[in-house]
Symmetry: C2
Subunit: 217 residues, 2 copies
DNA sequence: GCCTCATTCAAACGTTCGTTTCAAACGATC
DNA sequence: GATCGTTTGAAACGAACGTTTGAATGAGGC
């Protein structure tokens, strides 16, 4: 066979199926069948279905979190006070699928190729964000929170006058907008990823830059 | 009326559980137990789990769609060219839970500690929007699409210069932002519904009013 | 050859799932 | 009180689920 590793094939299949059907909607049997592996291979390589999801999630999220942190470093290194649009782009761009993934400066990542499977990454992120199953996001660690806190601080400096609570709301709004192509698929198929990404950046830059919400009227 | 109808109790319990755990994550047994009804009651009153979900969804969505349509009627009746902020508010406000609407359905579940009364409707809407299970949204009909098309036309008039495709994206962005309080619950509990709603309207009015995205640079 | 180790395999474990069955209880009408 | 249609009850159905078991398989070192 000389195919890819069974473990990797399972990770790839699970990444796609968890993104498409959610945690509860994906069976271990469906994963192993799609991967061309035996049912027991999940237990052997990962331990349990929840552990498989954690492995899938970490493989996707870790380079994204690293890219978000590196982009913020680069931004703060250039100018002391980056614009809102720059912050939005630095935060959101790694969340989208890279049609032309070049970057990768910090050599820590790379490692295992990571080829193929674009356009699936952002779908898994959205699934992680919105899936009600605890196993879908319970594995996330402090690294993700840390980089989000750093962006929150940067947005706070770029947007004085916005209360911290509203800023938290808006930062979560960035993530929520990632789910846009999961919504209302009945009318028409989601546009190409490239156009979606540029529209989202426009949408989010304007939203983040909105004047503060006044008190209840 | 010793207590509410079995059929209604099942609808209430299903509305809460489908919103909290999604379609695949909610068992018929969990619904009937929460409703204090027999397992077979779902089959008798609704036919199947998918039919139950359709009944739950229609009960929630229909008045919202009607309110969205009525709000647009009212708006277009007053001024021929409503502003973007007015359109956003007319479209989005019915999607949020009405704090003022005390429909008197607070007695569904007694034991839950939190304020279970409202804040469930918008959660179900979000669950319907993002749940990957076909049964979660497959029941939606032409009425919902029709009102969304009417808003799309109104936004098109209010925002000349935005391509129809980008406008579709932004309109879906309105719905996506509804999912914001489902995201990142680790940092802090979701804010009160009232503040969330006002922040969302600010966020969305600015986002919808953004200048058109230029061609790829 | 033999042994060791990691991996794969078919099969089975017990549990939970959605659904169905059929008898019992209920309320209204005669 | 008997009868009818409607609703509820306990129990069971087969299928699918996550997980575990223990025997095959194969490569590498002796």
């Amino acid at each position: 066979m000389a195919q890819t590793d069974t473990r990797t094939r399972i990770l790839d299949a699970a990444e796609r199926l968890f993104a498409e059907r959610g945690f509860s909607g994906t069976s271990v049997r469906a994963v192993t069948e799609a991967a061309g592996a035996n049912l027991a291979a999940v237990g052997y390589h990962f331990g349990s279905k929840a552990d498989l999801m954690a492995a899938v999630g970490r493989r996707v999220i870790e380079p994204i979190t690293a890219a978000q942190g590196a982009a913020l470093d680069r931004l703060l290194d250039g100018v002391p006070e980056p614009s809102v649009a720059e912050l939005v782009e630095a935060f959101a761009r790694p969340l989208f699928d890279d049609e032309s993934e070049s970057g990768g400066e910090s050599g820590s990542e790379s490692g295992s190729g990571g080829e193929a499977g674009s356009a699936r990454r952002s779908r898994l992120i959205v699934a992680i964000l919105v899936d009600p199953a605890e196993e879908m996001h319970g594995w996330m660690g402090a690294a993700e929170e840390a980089v989000q806190d750093r962006y929150l601080a940067a947005f706070t400096r770029a947007l004085p006058g916005i209360t911290p609570e509203e800023l938290v709301f808006r930062t979560r709004g960035i993530l929520a907008v990632m789910a846009v192509d999961r919504i209302g698929g009945r009318t028409q198929p989601p546009a190409a990823g490239e156009a979606n990404r540029r529209w989202a950046l426009t949408f989010l830059a304007a939203a983040m830059s909105a004047p503060p919400t006044g008190p209840a009227r």
